[in-house]
């Protein structure tokens, strides 16, 4: 997550970066022999981690090949024979797929709309608190939900929204009729996004608060001299100061746009709320692991992963072209 402002000086004096590339390649094998002889102990430390990446990260990527091959449970993890685009065509013609696809887009968009800007607002509000102890207390409390297991969050959500829970007690108190929130597909998006905000907004302020402390006080001083009000100071000094952080986090958020909280949906939804709650990842989970259509589910999963990759690459390019900040 480096930005031009925060890049460590060390990265600029890398010896191998630069025009030496071509020369090194011509040296070819000899250079590798020398490097291996000198650094074999360092390389040996990389063996186990590399095995980890190859087995548990790259093998499953290759395993996606079963999206185009017939797969038999218990057979080869790379499938038995080629079937071409059969499974891709299958999900493109599956009306349920398009339903879960649009659910994913809607939940992803709602999450982005609420969970990206709210930490900025909260950080600005926290930044106006002058008493250090109070500020630290407020931060500690707001970070807390981040540390909870998704199962606990789901448990809390269910207790809060239960028929005998406090929200319904309040509705009862003001004379409204009770709502069975978790069984009502109209409420799922509200509950999902609400609990997402509850869980992430406090933790999301950390990087902004850090960026805020790095803004030079002289800038505020100068703005005051020019007669800028508090609001103008926020607009012209504070917000530009946190812009690189905001852009970086926006890119990351867009990149994970399609990976709508799979675990949370899986814990909170039920057949009654499928019409709004079912997303691509939960649909492929049921298709693959409950109905054993492995190849079909893998095709959907590959589609989702490719879209995610395209999203993050394009968000990165756009932000580099427009505001000059990028992830790499």
């Amino acid at each position: 997550m480096s930005t031009p402002q925060t890049l460590s000086p060390g990265t600029t004096r890398e010896p191998e970066a630069g025009p030496a590339g071509g020369r090194r390649r011509r040296a070819g094998g000899g250079a590798w022999v020398r490097a291996l002889r000198r650094d074999w102990q360092l390389y040996s430390l990389a063996i186990l981690p590399l095995l980890f990446f190859l087995i548990f990260r790259y093998a499953p990527m290759l395993g996606n090949i079963i999206a185009f091959r017939k797969f038999e449970p218990g057979g080869s993890i790379f499938g038995e024979q080629w079937v071409g685009l059969r499974y891709v065509k299958m999900f493109l013609n599956d009306p349920t797929f398009w339903n879960v696809f649009s659910n994913t887009l809607i939940l992803g968009a709602l999450t982005l709309i609420f969970c990206f800007p709210l930490p900025i607002v909260l950080a600005l509000l926290l930044n106006e608190i002058r008493r250090r102890a109070l500020k630290r207390f407020l931060q500690s409390v707001s970070y807390l939900p981040h540390f909870l297991s998704m199962v606990i969050v789901a448990g809390l959500v269910m207790q809060m929204t239960a028929l005998d829970g406090p929200i319904n007690a309040f509705l009862d108190f003001v004379g409204a009729s009770k709502v069975s929130f978790m069984q009502d597909s109209d409420w799922f998006r509200t509950i999902y996004v609400g609990s997402e905000v509850w869980q992430t907004v406090g933790w999301g302020t950390i990087l902004y608060l850090a960026a805020l402390t790095t803004i030079d006080d002289q800038l505020y001083e100068a703005a005051r001299m020019d007669g800028a009000s508090r609001w103008r100071q926020i607009w012209h000094v504070t917000l530009p100061g946190i812009r690189p952080t905001a852009v970086t986090l926006l890119i990351l958020n867009i990149g994970t746009f399609m990976a709508v909280g799979f675990e949370k949906v899986l814990l909170l939804y039920n057949p009654l709320t499928y019409p709004t709650a079912d997303v691509i990842s939960t649909y492929l989970y049921r298709m693959g692991l409950e109905s054993s259509n492995f190849s079909y589910a893998a095709a959907i999963g590959l589609f989702e992963a490719v879209i995610g990759l395209i999203l993050i690459l394009s968000a990165n390019v756009i932000s580099r072209r427009t505001v000059g900040t990028s992830l790499w």
């Binding site: 010896p15 191998e16 998704m150 492929l284 693959g288």
Partner: protein
């Protein structure tokens, strides 16, 4: 201070108080429920303080041997997984921090690419199954042994250490392993502590791997125990409690289990929170 700003400060206080209340309310409410009688709960009367105070539900949950078995599993999985994760992450981060190393960019790329593209659920499931890791601790411990974010935090830290110490040690005849063990690691205690916390919390909280790969309830971590409870997969009758107690149990067994599961996190949270914050900063500034 202008009048407008004073009004703003007042509103700000109000909003932030609201944030604190909304954040903490679910915890207080669940705690109150866990001590309340079933009749008070189903009447929707429990708010901030317990009604019909009793410890029956705590006794019921505590007398379920499976709860303690699963709790112990959580501890074992967390300890083993964190240990393996720290060893692998530290050694790879140290390698990546050596700027002169040939092929370093490729080694970094191998790790970073997995942040943006992953194999997905189905191929992972097929792989773990065909490796014969179902119903074993390895299905939980190995597939998430390196978090790339943590790896980059440690790499950034190692890069910030002064190189002359290591060079001097090398001149004194220490090999790479000796330098890492005797020079680098003692200087890295703080960052390693942070990494242990990062990994331990994520393994403590994880549930899906166990849910996916464990068929035997004796192998579940406590998160899966709780998941089955809130999903209604285990009813109160499975506790073998007397009929009156079963009614007591129905809803607030969930509350009690939530309280007992969240307790260790809440207990250590005030002490470890700042390490998390500093870890995230390190990752953000240098990663």
């Amino acid at each position: 201070m202008t009048r407008g700003y004073r009004v703003f400060q007042w509103f700000n206080g109000l909003i932030l108080t609201g944030v604190v209340v909304v954040t903490l309310y679910p915890f207080v409410n669940i705690l109150a429920r866990s001590f309340s009688s079933q009749s008070a709960i189903s009447a929707g009367e429990v708010n901030l303080i317990p009604k019909g105070f009793n410890l029956t539900t705590y006794k019921i949950v505590a007398s379920d041997p499976m709860f303690w078995t699963n709790y112990r599993n959580t501890v074992v999985y967390t300890v083993v997984a964190t240990f393996i994760a720290i060893v692998l992450t530290t050694s790879y981060a140290y390698v990546l921090s050596k700027k002169h190393l040939k092929g370093r960019k490729v080694l970094i790329g191998v790790a970073v690419f997995t942040m943006f593209f992953s194999g997905g659920l189905i191929p992972n499931y097929v792989l773990i199954t065909s490796l014969g890791m179902k119903n074993s601790i390895w299905a939980i411990v190995l597939p998430n042994a390196i978090s790339v974010f943590n790896l980059l935090v440690m790499k950034a830290f190692f890069e910030s250490l002064p190189q002359d110490l290591e060079e001097a040690a090398a001149i004194d005849g220490l090999n790479t392993y000796g330098i890492l063990w005797k020079i680098v690691l003692p200087l890295s205690k703080a960052v390693i502590a942070t990494m242990i916390l990062f990994y331990a919390v994520s393994f403590w909280n994880s549930w899906f791997a166990a849910f996916l790969y464990m068929n035997d309830s004796g192998l579940f971590p406590v998160t899966v125990y709780l998941r089955n409870l809130i999903a209604g997969a285990t009813g109160a009758d499975s506790y073998g409690a007397a009929a009156a107690e079963v009614t007591q149990a129905a809803a607030n067994i969930q509350a009690v289990t939530i309280v007992l599961t969240v307790l260790p996190i809440l207990a250590v949270y005030p002490f470890v929170q700042r390490y998390f914050v500093s870890g995230v900063m390190l990752g953000a500034v240098k990663g």
